[in-house]
Symmetry: C2
Subunit: 220 residues, 2 copies
């Protein structure tokens, strides 16, 4: 859970589908802590059975504008975002996240992991593609007790993977999600307000516009 | 790097093969810190370019005698060790370790990750098997920039995977490894001395005996 549009909508989807949900956030040294607070707030508001934040300092490895002193790009258009892997890419982030989810899933004897990755408005992250998720699932089932003792295989569910950002917002509205609880900005101000100009803010604004919805976080 | 026989021998192998090695240890809330100190000592003594310890508290998830308050089993024979997955299994441990290694490898633009897993004297851990490593490698190449931008694929090397513990010790001796630097025990005393009775101590003693070598850490 990042507490953004995607993970929030994904949680709402899993709960509506009848799952008991244990939500996991990573405090990985991102520049801002608003994301950590939003994730916990959303998990509680939507009715997760338990929310856990695991701290791991990915800054030690360097390599991303989200954890390093690299400047977050502002005001890029969709064409620029679509080219190559952006500086906001955190090395192997979803692999680290899914691995930790897998560790907890194994202890909980969970049947599934849900992750709100999205291959359409994905900003160029390699670890949001369906072929990556399938490879992770295969590896996960070889990594764990399930793979050895013939338990039910673990499934990785990605209900948002083929939706546009507008489609995600429409789905979330149908599920009754209150998007005022969420947080998307890569570079919020000291008061926690979104910058309105980073890739994440721009994709969010574009998504709400295309969905014909008002973003409760938008400046009036 | 755990600073045990396997990771130490694996590092010696990679260095002898001409690789510039960046070594990674995880401080994952194991009951004892002797392992963390041994890993750093070994990395420096053997000539790693850089050693890094990443802290992540896997105790939050529970589920293992190595991180929980479950008692470490003592005095089991090889037959008992070979049956099922032991309580010392840490959920998804190698997946968490390899994922973090992958994050660093991506930043370093490394061509390979070496891991000293071993499928023979493996004590029943599912994430030490060749099919698991192959699945991880496949996933890793889809997870990262390499998979998108057509860089050289990342290889996961497991030079010890088909060696017995005795074979690993013989290989290490050929490579000039000083095993007095290493640490294997799951449950060392307050002075850091090995207990001599946990699975790891027993496998180590058996390995040295079968290799016809003296363990420099053995009680006189």
């Amino acid at each position: 859970m990042s507490g953004g549009l995607d993970s929030t909508t994904c949680l709402a989807w899993a709960l509506r589908d009848g799952w008991e949900c244990y939500t996991l956030s990573l405090d990985y040294g991102q520049r801002h802590q608003a994301e950590i607070a939003a994730a916990a707030r959303v998990a509680q508001a939507l009715g997760a059975a338990q929310h856990m934040t695991v701290k791991i300092d990915l800054r030690q490895f360097g390599g991303s504008a989200l954890t390093d002193n690299i400047e977050v790009p502002k005001g890029r258009d969709a064409g620029e975002m679509g080219h190559g892997i952006p500086v906001t890419y955190v090395p192997a982030r979803n692999t680290v996240f899914l691995s930790l989810a897998l560790a907890w899933a194994e202890v909980l004897e969970a049947a599934a992991i849900f992750i709100g990755v999205n291959a359409i408005d994905y900003s160029g992250y390699p670890d949001c593609r369906p072929e990556y998720i399938e490879a992770f699932e295969r590896m996960a089932n070889l990594a764990t007790r399930a793979g050895v003792e013939g338990h039910t295989a673990l499934k990785i569910h990605t209900p948002l993977i083929r939706l546009s950002k507008a489609g995600i917002i429409r789905l979330g509205r149908e599920l009754g999600v209150d998007y005022s609880l969420t947080h998307s900005c890569y570079d919020p101000g000291p008061d926690g307000r979104p910058c309105g100009a980073c890739d994440s803010c721009l994709l969010r604004a574009k998504g709400f516009a295309e969905a014909g919805e008002h973003d409760p976080l938008a400046q009036p």
